[in-house]
Subunit: 253 residues, 2 copies
């Protein structure tokens, strides 16, 4: 048996999220189906760095699986891409030892969130960016990003539906936003993320940009440990699982 690590891009628009569910088209479902066909009817279960929700995209999701097939590393990528639908693409396949686990070996994750701050929505990007017609104050959002960095209890920024039983303390190493014309890209890199955490942080950051909150409100929101104080989770289509970093070598794109 060989352990294969795959870096995967997918367009989340037509998937009911990553995790396999009966009667729904999921990323795990289509990847496991491709593997099933490649293994001539033998089921191969994949492990991912984590799930993504309906409509959320991935540029660099990471999965692993074990295969009895003896295929050179360089041929795996094409073999899988030939069997996958065109909204899922394998970017890279690497042979690993059994030490490697797509979920348990994760060191850091990076998410990006894209906002189009124009009056009219762009019909070609409606599934790929969040459209906010109200003019956002970029400097205020930049300031707010800095209050999210560091080690905090993120209870206020996690879904009430979160199944995490243990601590909600996480460390964000880097939070920032960058403006190019009317497009704003937010970057979040951290040790781990709670359920819906990026989309809830984004909701607060846009409130700051609209002038409905002050950047320093983030400090109080973190301290309150109360999800109720924050508005609704922002839409999924602007969110991308960008990159997963592993112990082994610190940087895996």
């Amino acid at each position: 048996m060989e352990r294969l690590k795959c870096t995967v891009s997918y367009d989340g628009s037509d998937f009911a999220g990553f995790q396999v569910q009966p009667d729904h088209r999921t990323v795990q479902g289509v990847v496991e189906k491709a593997l099933y066909n490649m293994h001539k009817g033998k089921s191969i279960r994949i492990q991912a760095s984590g799930r993504t929700d309906t409509g959320v995209h991935a540029v660099g999701q990471v999965i692993h699986f074990d295969s009895p097939l003896e295929i050179p590393e360089r041929n795996w990528k094409q073999a899988l891409n030939t069997l996958l639908p065109d909204d899922v693409r394998i970017r890279k396949v690497e042979k690993k030892t059994e030490e490697f686990h797509a979920r348990y070996s994760v060191k850091e994750k990076e998410y990006h969130y894209f906002v189009s701050n124009e009056e009219d929505p762009d019909v070609f990007r409606r599934e790929y960016v969040y459209h906010e017609p109200r003019k956002l104050d970029f400097e205020r959002m930049q300031e707010a990003c800095k209050y999210l960095e560091g080690t905090h209890d993120f209870t206020s920024f996690s879904s009430a539906k979160s199944s995490v039983k243990g601590t909600k303390i996480r460390t964000l190493y880097h939070v920032s936003c960058h403006q190019t014309g009317s497009n704003i890209e937010f970057v979040f890199r951290g040790s781990g993320f709670l359920y819906n955490m990026v989309r809830i942080m984004m909701s607060v950051l846009l409130d700051v940009g609209k002038g409905k909150r002050n950047p320093k409100d983030i400090i109080d929101l973190l301290a309150s440990k109360n999800r109720q104080q924050i508005g609704k989770t922002l839409a999924p289509q602007g969110l991308y699982l960008w990159r997963v970093f592993y112990e082994e070598n610190g940087s895996e794109k």
Copy 2:
């Protein structure tokens, strides 16, 4: 009755082209349905600058229709967008006299075609650009573009299925290509275009870029007046009806 001119963007991915057809989702179908609802059950027929095929996009398609409703010009856009699906957006509505006709008053049209010249396809742009993994020679394609400009009989560059009975002589005022990183944008502006003409010209231009043809072959292809000499029509997803120009004021975006 008032004549309304609308500039319309649409994502062609989920449409069986512009023109209404039974049992298919078409741009004309959804726009006429929105108008039907707005006019409380009265059918309103729209006229467009021309059709677009399945999968072809529009940034600035132009349509017109006549309406008995008395609505201020500035309110039409929002009223229509509220009733339309989010892959069709009205960008602009203008009141016109009966002299204006979306099809018969056309002076020039502009199409753009986008090519991604990277090894791997971009999963997020698979419906919006044509992916060509073989390295294209940009300078050769630029040279070839110039041979398409001018007044020519474009029989070789029109579909055998073309229903045009009259002359196939058309004038292209401007043909060019522009490179930004691995993206190449082609621009075609002319007095009129035959069925599939841009996609057939694109097929030849990519052959030139791949070194399968010389730029000057265009001269012979035009002279031959034979569609059979050219390979298959290029895929629709890279093609955008960009802009339609009218007599009235020369430039309408």
